[in-house]
């Protein structure tokens, strides 16, 4: 791993001064620490996509296939014919610059190619040369440029410096969505075998084992049982969740990060406690054991191949509907792609909460409900016994994850849940939340160690807003509804605002939930004393 600057040095290094060279003449920085490691060939082979022998982005010669220009040209053409979004977005940008300073990577790095408009121009300039009359005749005067191996390098560098968060799209007068541009760019790179390992390894794992981490069925069961032991120790209640059980009413699917990595694991415990408390008839699946979908960051075909397991497993088990856990891009896939790709889910029923009788008509077709919708409905109907004072040591703020915010609009449900389970809740500044929220800096498969400098820069706008409420209200806990956030925000907070922790909202639900027959709780789900302040005063 490459050492990175100290926070203060990094902050002071941000410079929005525009370079004197034209952007076309500035080569991408592909020195160690500035690129994601390429994927191992075995992952590509396993998935049956274009495979490439070992290489490094730092190499001078990337040894592209002989007909690489033709591959890119044909691939581009195919995508223009398949996606109106791409075609329209290539043609109508007026370069007004409204998006320029909306990207967290630009704000944190000052690199002009991280302005969304220039990120799109990387592709658009080639489009003009290959597909427009003016570009063919006038060349660079019309903003066209011929594709070269250096352009491919530039694409690789900058399409893996975009987290597909869609913030720029909010401000664009035409809604031009850089996520769409980046997705196309990554698909084109993938046609040359240029994938990154931090995306493709989880994809290959997920394809085989059902989850990104490659947890095999017996190990998954053990992990969950381990959480149940912890829950028993904390609450005195023994939970026995079922796996792959046919005839359950509900299939519950959550990102596998919740099985494995703190603090996601505490959120997992929160789910288990909630379901036990309300007596939900549900099952977990080891086959469809991943809510997330790194296929979204690879190609639409790969996304479909991974997503297909959810409906397939729901059908095999004969459940009525599917409940989904806290995850960001998972919900972009479910809300915007799943039913189109793998529906219709006519073997399922319109979701109805067995506890409150509420019918989730907004999920009438996919038959999949977000846990925040489900829990908000429970709290609204007074179905949960809650003691929010158990979360009193936390002064909480809420980070809207990009995808639930801008590809769904799940904004008030998690806030309602939070306000129901904790007493101290503070919003970050208006320009940094809800549809204007900032990415954690590590979304869309960029949560990898080797680009820590970029991740800390990209996460700066979020961290800076947390710093604001930390200074103003003493906020010490950042709640979120995304597994990538739960993995990416802790190092981000350690770096920029070390006094702030990170939690999923169902961890706080688990803390506050007064379960039937529980023993008196002395610790929270992290085995830390319920009230730190009191302890300190006692001393």
């Amino acid at each position: 791993m490459v050492d990175i600057l100290k926070p203060e040095e990094m902050y002071n290094s941000i410079d929005y001064k525009i370079p004197s060279d034209r952007w076309e003449d500035v080569p991408p920085d592909l020195t160690l620490g500035n690129f994601c490691y390429p994927t191992k060939k075995k992952n590509q082979e396993y998935l049956g996509i274009v495979a490439k022998d070992e290489w490094s982005p730092a190499d001078e010669d990337w040894k592209l296939p002989e007909n690489w220009e033709e591959i890119i040209h044909e691939g581009f053409k195919e995508r223009l014919d398949k996606y109106r979004s791409l075609k329209v977005f290539m043609d109508i940008c007026v370069r007004c610059g409204a998006c320029a300073d909306k990207c967290h990577f630009f704000i944190g790095s000052g690199d002009p190619k991280n302005m969304p408009v220039l990120r799109a121009e990387l592709l658009r300039s080639v489009y003009r040369k290959d597909f427009t009359t003016a570009g063919k005749i006038l060349g660079s005067i019309a903003g066209a440029r011929k594709i070269t191996p250096l352009v491919i390098k530039e694409w690789f560098s900058y399409f893996y410096q975009c987290s597909e968060c869609r913030r720029c799209s909010v401000y664009c007068p035409y809604g031009i969505d850089t996520a769409e541009i980046t997705m196309m760019g990554r698909e084109l790179l993938s046609l040359l075998g240029l994938n990154i390992n931090w995306i493709l390894e989880p994809v290959a794992n997920c394809f085989r084992t059902g989850n990104h981490l490659g947890i095999q069925p017996h190990a998954l069961k053990e992990m969950i049982e381990f959480f149940c032991d912890d829950i028993e120790e904390i609450t005195g209640i023994k939970i026995n969740p079922s796996f792959n059980r046919k005839g359950a009413e509900i299939l519950f699917i959550t990102p596998s990060g919740d099985f494995f990595a703190d603090p996601g694991t505490y959120t997992m415990m929160g789910y288990l406690m909630l379901f036990e408390h309300i007596g939900l008839d549900y099952t977990l699946s080891t086959y469809a054991s991943e809510g997330g979908n790194f296929g979204l960051f690879t190609s639409s075909d790969v996304m479909k191949r991974l997503n297909g397991k959810m409906f397939a497993e729901a059908k095999r088990l004969g459940v009525k509907w599917i409940l989904g856990g806290e995850c960001g891009h998972m919900w972009r896939v479910i809300n915007q792609y799943m039913d189109t790709m793998n529906g219709p889910a006519d073997f399922l029923e319109v979701p109805k909460s067995p506890i409150t009788g509420t019918q989730f008509s907004n999920a009438a077709s996919t038959k999949m409900v977000h846990i925040a919708e489900f829990t908000a409905d429970l709290i609204k109907h007074n179905k949960l016994k809650l003691d929010p004072s158990r979360n009193d040591k936390f002064k909480v703020t809420f980070h809207d994850s990009c995808n639930p915010a801008r590809a769904m609009g799940l904004l008030d449900e998690p806030r309602y849940v939070l306000k129901g389970v904790c007493n101290h809740f503070y919003e970050m500044p208006e320009n940094t939340i809800r549809e204007q929220t900032f990415c954690c800096g590590s979304g869309s498969g960029l949560n990898t160690e080797e680009i820590m400098d970029l991740r800390m820069r990209g996460g700066l706008p979020r961290a800076n807003a947390v710093q604001h409420v930390h200074d103003k209200h003493g906020v010490n806990m950042l709640a979120c509804i995304c597994a990538i956030d739960r993995a990416a925000l802790p190092p981000l907070m350690d770096y920029w605002v070390p006094e702030v922790g990170v939690t999923g909202i169902h961890e706080l639900v688990g803390n506050a939930l007064v379960m039937d027959g529980e023993i008196e709780r002395t610790t929270d789900l992290r085995f830390e004393p319920l009230n730190e302040e009191e302890e300190q005063t006692d001393e």
């Binding site: 977005f89 007068p173 769409e180 095999q216 017996h218 809300n335 008509s361 609009g409 799940l410 500044p429």
Partner: protein
């Protein structure tokens, strides 16, 4: 000087000279007054249709609206029906506000580093310049219908009354002509002076602005300074509109033909340029779709057959371990 605006300026000056010399000096008024305008109209209409049809030929495989407010979910949670529409009506309102009021631009902010804080300040300038420019342009275009319609429709005279509300000068000053020039100049200055915007600008960004500045300048000069013979202009334009083509006796000034030629170039240029945003804004899938992906199935016409990893394959892979762990299996 930046080559991008140099080329654009050169092109506009060159085109103006061509018309001035061609129609004014060489006397090719038939070419510049009749042939080229018809050609420009044909290119504009066919090019515009062709471009829009080209977009329409590509399907919208996925429902990908950018949601900018609370979704429709539980009954008691207030949905933002405009910024996160779930119905066609909501989409229409969203698109209407976007197209008529440039709503997203209105939200624009500027990011600044102030000490140890990153601040986002609301900035209205881009929105203001854009509104000024586009509405002035619209008013000018509508006013010019006077030259192509007889009798002059009521809405044209009505607009002229509003546009001339200042009642100064003779002939009376139309605000829209001046604000069009001002809007275009402000947008141009913004492009030249703000380093970030300058850096992203290409020749195709300067050219239409300079061309429109050329149109506005020649128009203003004719109306207020050289006092073009409006009766003769109308004779020419009505001839074009009614297909009774002819150049009025004695011809028209070179300046008029520069103006007309610029307009022709602009019309013919639109379908091949970013100015197609006037059509494309209606077709942007992130804005013109309802966020109802979970309510109603959206169909992808090319939905591909892909290779899944089936449960059976999965169980074959892990059966022993599953049985050992007490997990249910399909085949013992």
């Amino acid at each position: 000087m930046n080559v991008n605006y140099f080329y654009s300026l050169l092109a506009v000056v060159g085109l103006g000279s061509v018309a001035y010399v061609g129609a004014g000096v060489a006397g090719l008024q038939g070419v510049f007054g009749i042939f080229i305008p018809y050609l420009a109209v044909v290119i504009f209409i066919s090019g515009f249709i062709n471009r829009v049809m080209g977009w329409a030929r590509s399907p919208v495989p996925f429902r990908i609206p950018t949601t900018c407010g609370q979704q429709k979910s539980l009954d008691w949670i207030q949905q933002n029906k405009i910024d996160n529409p779930s119905t066609l009506f909501g989409v229409i309102i969203r698109m209407f506000l976007e197209i008529v009021l440039f709503r997203s631009l209105f939200k624009n902010t500027r990011t600044e580093i102030v000490g140890d804080k990153i601040a986002y300040k609301w900035v209205v300038w881009l929105w203001l310049f854009a509104i000024l420019f586009h509405y002035s342009f619209l008013a000018v275009v509508v006013r010019h219908l006077r030259f192509f319609l007889e009798p002059v429709p009521f809405f044209v005279t009505f607009l002229e009354q509003i546009d001339g509300i200042l009642q100064v000068g003779l002939p009376g000053v139309f605000l829209s002509g001046i604000t069009l020039l001002a809007g275009a100049v402000l947008l141009l200055l913004r492009r030249i002076l703000i380093p970030k915007i300058n850096y992203i600008s290409i020749a195709a960004d300067y050219f239409p602005l300079l061309l429109i500045i050329g149109i506005a300048l020649t128009g203003l000069m004719m109306r207020y300074f050289t006092k073009v013979d409006v009766v003769k202009v109308k004779e020419l334009t009505m001839g074009l509109a009614t297909f009774h083509m002819g150049i009025p006796e004695g011809g028209l000034s070179g300046l008029f033909f520069v103006h007309l030629f610029f307009v022709c170039i602009l019309a013919a240029y639109i379908p091949f340029s970013k100015l197609m945003h006037m059509g494309g804004v209606f077709l942007s899938p992130t804005r013109n779709l309802a966020n109802n992906g979970r309510m109603k199935r959206h169909i992808n016409p090319w939905n591909p057959e892909v290779k899944f990893h089936t449960y059976d394959e999965y169980e074959d892979d892990f059966r022993e371990k599953m049985i050992e762990a007490g997990l249910p299996v399909e085949k013992e």
